[in-house]
């Protein structure tokens, strides 16, 4: 099993780097994953991550992308409340990359 080492602690991850146990997540995990991808996490990035986690805690699944973009719109206004902006933040795809940073399992299905 692959692992991700953050600040002396090692976390189990799957083949694609998703945390095996979403509850183990710490901010350090997200930071380390972003660093590997060469991404600097801005306040907007963190906002997405936090929203994803709180949604997941409540519903055991990541929210629909539109729910996420709407949340961003509320926070930052219309220019940033759209899918395009999400892709700017998370170029490898918001559903997948952002979920990974947030420690959530990868969404499955025809998505």
């Amino acid at each position: 099993m692959a692992t991700l080492d953050v600040e002396g602690k090692s976390y189990e991850v799957d083949e694609e780097g998703y945390l095996m146990d979403w509850q183990e997540w710490t901010e350090g995990v997200a930071g380390a994953m972003a660093k590997e991808d060469g991404l600097d996490l801005s306040a907007e990035h963190w906002n997405v991550i936090k929203f994803l986690r709180s949604y997941f805690e409540k519903y055991q699944i990541a929210p629909m992308i539109k729910i996420l973009t709407k949340e961003l719109a509320k926070e930052y206004g219309k220019e940033k409340g759209n899918t395009k902006y999400l892709y700017e933040l998370y170029p490898a795809g918001p559903a997948k990359q952002a979920c990974r940073y947030a420690g959530l399992p990868k969404p499955t299905g025809c998505v």
Partner: protein
């Protein structure tokens, strides 16, 4: 992932030179032992795997006439060799349908025919080995079970049947695809491929209701688990999650609203898709399909309608009567599931819904026939209506529609490249390549007719093209659903009813 390059878009589909091993190494992640056990397969490949392998193969040969006859009757005429999108885009000879089948046929000769037992190599017989397993895992997962090859074969040999059987044998040998089995497990335990529990589904539907009301001012409802509703909608769970999928969901909801019918979604059967088919496993296919019929019974609906999803429609239309029929509890007028396109077109023809074509004037539209709809099912009364019905809908709600080249649509449609359980990130390389023939055909109508809306009726196609378009340099927003066009143009309020 970022370094995946798309083939150049020239508008031409050219048969490549044969390049052995060109797509070697692209294969799905294997399922972990815990997952294998959850879906009733051996946890791992055991030391006596050859026994398990051959036992399963023998069983399949006894149970499926298709597999037996197809293995026997191929004359290696070569008609299918350049019909597969994965061969056309990679040149890997194992992606020629007949040569893909050969991976199984060579084993069949070795263990199930006299000639092969006696003559071995000379007769093209091959012994089981780890190397062979590796090739099976590779090339039987580089097939999207799209059936294009079967159209051109003089005997109708359908490589998809062989692929399904091969995956079933691999699973029985303890080698499964993580992506497919995870989804099957979620569909069977939670009720949909995403693993979206009931409360999350309700929350999502609330959100979609808000969206529609915000955009239109009309309170269109998306009911969940309503007993006694007339219609049960089963749609791929991607419609509750991804874009552009959800825009078609809005379209269905508006159609039902405008028709003034009582309809519902079920949290027990919140999935139209059925990955049991992709791995050729009858039991899983039946179990997943059964949730729909249990839900239909429990909610006492009169009718089941399927949302936009290619393989879901194949299972619902072609298989579910066999798997879990008869459906005598449904209204005698609607004994069988209908497709949302059949339903919508019917309403349009009756004048029960009004469409404002101008609402789609910014779009020049083309339509991609999803292979499972085109080659493995039917809509309407007459064979072939599965091609005309979606086009009629589009023409009813758009002013600009154009078809792609004849040999790339209808029964000869090219797969999106992501069907059949291939739609997973580790397969991205073959997915990008496999989309090539379709993309070339699209390129031509983009050049000639400025097409900027690629209309689909399949959740997998939608996900695949949304991912693949940007790699080919096309905006992902150009991907959409047929009911998204309906959603844009339907006149809410001003109700005339059915």
């Amino acid at each position: 992932m970022a370094d995946i390059k798309a083939p150049e878009l020239t508008g031409e589909i050219i048969t490549p030179k044969v390049t052995p091993g060109a797509s070697k190494g692209i294969m799905p992640f294997k399922a972990k032992p815990e997952l294998m056990e959850k879906v009733n397969f051996p946890a791992e490949k055991p030391s006596n795997w050859k026994e398990l392998f051959l036992k399963k193969m023998e069983e399949i040969l006894k149970k499926y006439r298709s597999v037996r006859v197809f293995l026997d009757e191929c004359v290696r005429c070569g008609a299918c060799t350049d019909k597969c999108h994965y061969f056309l885009s990679t040149g890997d000879p194992r992606n020629m349908p007949v040569h893909r089948q050969e991976l199984m046929r060579s084993v069949y000769r070795k263990y199930f025919t006299t000639g092969g037992k006696l003559l071995g190599n000379l007769a093209g017989a091959r012994e089981l080995s780890d190397e062979l397993l590796e090739e099976w895992l590779t090339y039987f997962y580089q097939c999207s079970e799209c059936r294009r090859c079967s159209v051109f074969c003089p005997y109708g040999i359908d490589t998809a049947e062989i692929t399904m059987a091969a995956r079933e044998i691999l699973d029985a040998t303890g080698i499964g695809s993580k992506y497919n089995l995870e989804i099957i497990n979620k569909a069977e335990t939670i009720g949909n491929n995403l693993g979206m529990p009931g409360p999350a589904l309700r929350n999502t539907l609330d959100f979609v209701e808000e969206e529609i009301e915000e955009k239109t001012g009309v309170p269109v409802k998306l009911p969940l688990d309503v007993e006694g509703a007339d219609i049960l909608l089963v749609t791929p769970s991607a419609d509750f999650f991804a874009e552009p999928h959800v825009l078609s969901l809005e379209g269905y909801a508006k159609v039902f609203h405008q028709a003034g019918v009582n309809w519902t979604i079920s949290s027990h059967a919140s999935e139209g898709g059925n990955f049991g088919m992709f791995i050729g496993n009858y039991d899983h296919m039946k179990t997943i399909n059964k949730r729909i019929w249990d839900a239909a019974r429990d909610l006492k609906v009169k009718r089941v309608i399927a949302g936009e999803c290619g393989h879901a429609w194949r299972v619902l239309y072609s298989f579910s009567n066999t798997l879990n029929g008869p459906f005598d509890f449904l209204d005698s007028q609607y004994r069988q599931p209908s497709h949302i396109c059949e339903y919508t077109l019917d309403l349009i023809k009756k004048g029960a819904i009004k469409l404002d074509k101008a609402a789609n004037d910014e779009f020049s539209v083309t339509f991609h026939d999803s292979c499972n709809v085109a080659r493995a099912s039917r809509m309407g009364e007459t064979p072939g209506d599965q091609m005309t019905i979606p086009r009629e809908i589009i023409n009813a709600c758009c002013n600009k529609f154009v078809d792609m080249a004849d040999d790339t649509i209808g029964e000869r449609t090219f797969c999106c490249g992501g069907g059949g359980g291939v739609l997973t990130d580790e397969m991205i390389d073959i997915r990008v390549k496999g989309a090539m023939p379709r993309m070339q055909a699209l390129k031509r109508v983009k050049d000639s007719h400025d097409v900027n809306f690629f209309a689909l009726i399949c959740a997998i196609c939608k996900a695949q093209f949304t991912k693949i378009f940007p790699i080919y340099g096309i905006e992902m927003e150009e991907v959409g659903g047929v009911h998204q066009l309906i959603s844009n143009s339907i006149q809410l309020g001003a109700k005339e009813g059915v």
